[in-house]
């Protein structure tokens, strides 16, 4: 049977990916360049009994997502830098209360209101450390419209599997460009749903570590009654200051990501096998890097690309391996040096490291990357 195909904007692909994953709630507040995600869901969610709410601001939007997610819905919000900054308090709440949800950040320039219509990748560190306190983080950074669809699906799967917020990082360019996408049939992409607790309501403890690092989450408002708080809590969900319990639960929450890196990490490698220089890039800029690699290979230069699709947790092990193989790593990013700090941390001086930063609202072109490669190697 012929595949269903459409020419979609990245933001639209993200919204359709969310629907495919089973998203039934969107709470948001419009902001450029993310608004098309909300526009599609405002139109589509009511058709299938889902709910779309435009809240009074970004903070309330995030709160509505957490409320909906607790009741069992797969819930989404989409915003950009200034809105994501406002959401941080509640993203932290989602971390500690272990509420699965997906947050789309279509990155634009900053800080503050910055440049609403310009592309950016300057929220790379915010996606990891935006909210205070120790916490795990998962963020994915797709590059094409097709991948925006499938990674949005995967973001929901990761959120449900690890019972935590997951961010999808786009930028103004891949959020707004249009590409042909093949819409997967139902069942073609894996969908992971929340598992009901295997115990009766009377026996249920919402953070019972005997179930492992990811205790099952019951639907709030059902016969399973439990307490939710932003304070450190014991297995029953009520606040505790007992050192042993606090320590154990903080470590469990980090461990649920760290111990499952192999299941969460996803990367793409392009011509790295014999590469002497590797370009590490994400999202839209990885497409510039791929173009640069293809052109430089024609000139006989041994260059490759490594692209984290899962940005957080950062692909430490593979980048450290590559650093042992190559002469230099180049990190082009639409900010003034964020991902390069992470690369620097993991390569431990094993090869040369160079950055290309750009914050003028224009993408880093393939030519800029080619010039840098020629300059350093």
């Amino acid at each position: 049977m012929a595949k269903k195909v459409a020419l979609l904007q990245g933001n639209e692909a993200c919204a359709y990916g969310a629907l495919y994953a089973g998203c039934s709630f969107f709470g948001g507040y419009p902001i450029t360049p993310s608004t098309e995600v909300a526009e599609v869901l405002a139109k589509e969610l009511p058709k299938t009994g889902g709910k779309f709410i435009q809240m009074e601001d970004e903070i309330a939007a995030m709160a509505s997502v957490l409320g909906a997610a607790l009741t069992g819905a797969k819930a989404l919000t989409a915003s950009s830098g200034p809105g994501i900054s406002l959401k941080q308090e509640l993203i932290g709440y989602a971390c500690i209360a272990e509420i699965p949800c997906v947050i789309v950040n279509v990155m634009r320039g900053g800080p503050s209101t910055g440049m609403p219509t310009g592309p950016s990748q300057s929220d790379i560190m915010q996606a990891r450390w935006g909210t205070h306190g120790d916490h795990a983080a998962i963020a994915v950074a797709p590059a094409s419209c097709q991948e925006i669809f499938s990674e949005t699906v995967r973001a929901f799967n990761l959120a449900e599997t690890y019972r935590m917020p997951v961010q999808v990082l786009l930028d103004e360019i891949n959020g707004h460009m249009r590409e042909r996408i093949e819409l997967p049939e139902p069942g073609e992409l894996e969908i992971l749903d929340r598992q009901a607790p295997p115990v009766s309501p009377e026996q249920y403890l919402p953070f019972d570590p005997s179930f492992g690092d990811v205790p099952p989450l019951a639907a709030f408002g059902s016969e399973y009654r439990f307490h939710v708080t932003g304070l450190n809590k014991a297995a029953d969900g009520f606040p505790t200051t007992k050192a042993r319990l606090v320590d154990a639960e903080e470590r469990r929450q980090i461990r649920k990501v760290e111990a499952n890196r192999d299941k969460i990490e996803k990367n793409e490698e392009y011509m790295v096998d014999d590469a002497e220089v590797v370009i590490v890039a994400i999202g839209t800029i990885s497409r510039s890097a791929r173009h640069a690699v293809t052109e430089l290979r024609k000139q006989g230069r041994k260059v490759g690309m490594f692209r984290p699709i899962t940005l957080w947790p950062f692909p430490e092990q593979r980048i450290a391996e590559l650093a042992g193989q190559v002469k230099a790593i180049i990190v082009p990013e639409m900010n003034l040096g964020q991902m390069i700090l992470e690369v620097e941390r993991v390569i431990k001086g094993a090869c040369d490291l160079h950055g290309i930063g750009r914050v003028d609202g224009e993408p880093i072109s393939p030519f800029q990357i080619m010039d840098k490669v020629k300059e350093v190697y």
């Binding site: 020419l7 609403p116 460009m177 249009r178 042909r180 839209t284 173009h291 393939p366």
Partner: protein, 182 residues
């Protein structure tokens, strides 16, 4: 190795050039089996003065989604012509509206001219279809998609009542440029 072909539609905001770009991208990647990426000027840039819509078409996956060197450019206004011709590939193609680009820009490209907006207004009877006339013209100029594919892509987006109008607009644009090329 895939071949990359870059097309730019430029003019003033409101002339329907973003739609023209989207239709061309659909002709290439939905009606035909090519790859396409469409992008556009956005924000304040799109709201006053010059506006552009870019389509990259290839027989293989497209990496960098923005224009690098444009193979064929359309300009419906003088401002757009002045602003956007600087990245046309040496020996590339430039299609201008005769009435609205009085001073054709100089450069290493082949210029073709016909009164696109007035053709829509006078020959077709509706200025609003100037973008479809322009699309037909660019399809004829570039040959990047088949004539029928472009028409099919136009009609996919048009309500029943406007099918004939748009068919006429598309084919008039196509034939006017074909005549210039012959």
């Amino acid at each position: 190795m895939s071949k990359r072909y870059e097309i730019r539609f430029s003019g003033a905001g409101g002339q329907g050039l973003i739609t023209a770009g989207i239709i061309l991208a659909e002709a290439a990647s939905i009606v035909e089996d090519q790859y396409a990426v469409q992008s556009q000027s956005y924000g304040p840039e799109a709201r006053g003065g010059a506006s552009k819509s870019e389509v990259i078409i290839s027989d293989g996956p497209i990496d960098y989604p923005k224009a690098t060197l444009v193979d064929a450019c359309l300009a419906l206004t003088q401002e757009a012509a002045d602003k956007y011709v600087d990245t046309i590939k040496p020996g590339g193609l430039l299609l201008l509206d005769t009435d609205f680009v009085k001073k054709p820009p100089a450069g290493d490209f082949k210029i073709y001219r016909f009164p696109i907006i007035n053709t829509a207004k006078n020959d077709i009877g509706r200025a609003i279809v100037a973008n479809v006339v322009a699309l037909g013209a660019m399809v004829a100029l570039t040959g990047i998609v088949k004539r029928e594919s472009g028409e099919k892509a136009v009609l996919r987006r048009v309500p029943e009542a406007f099918v004939e109008l748009n068919k006429k607009a598309y084919n008039t644009g196509y034939e006017r440029v074909k005549a210039l090329l012959d």
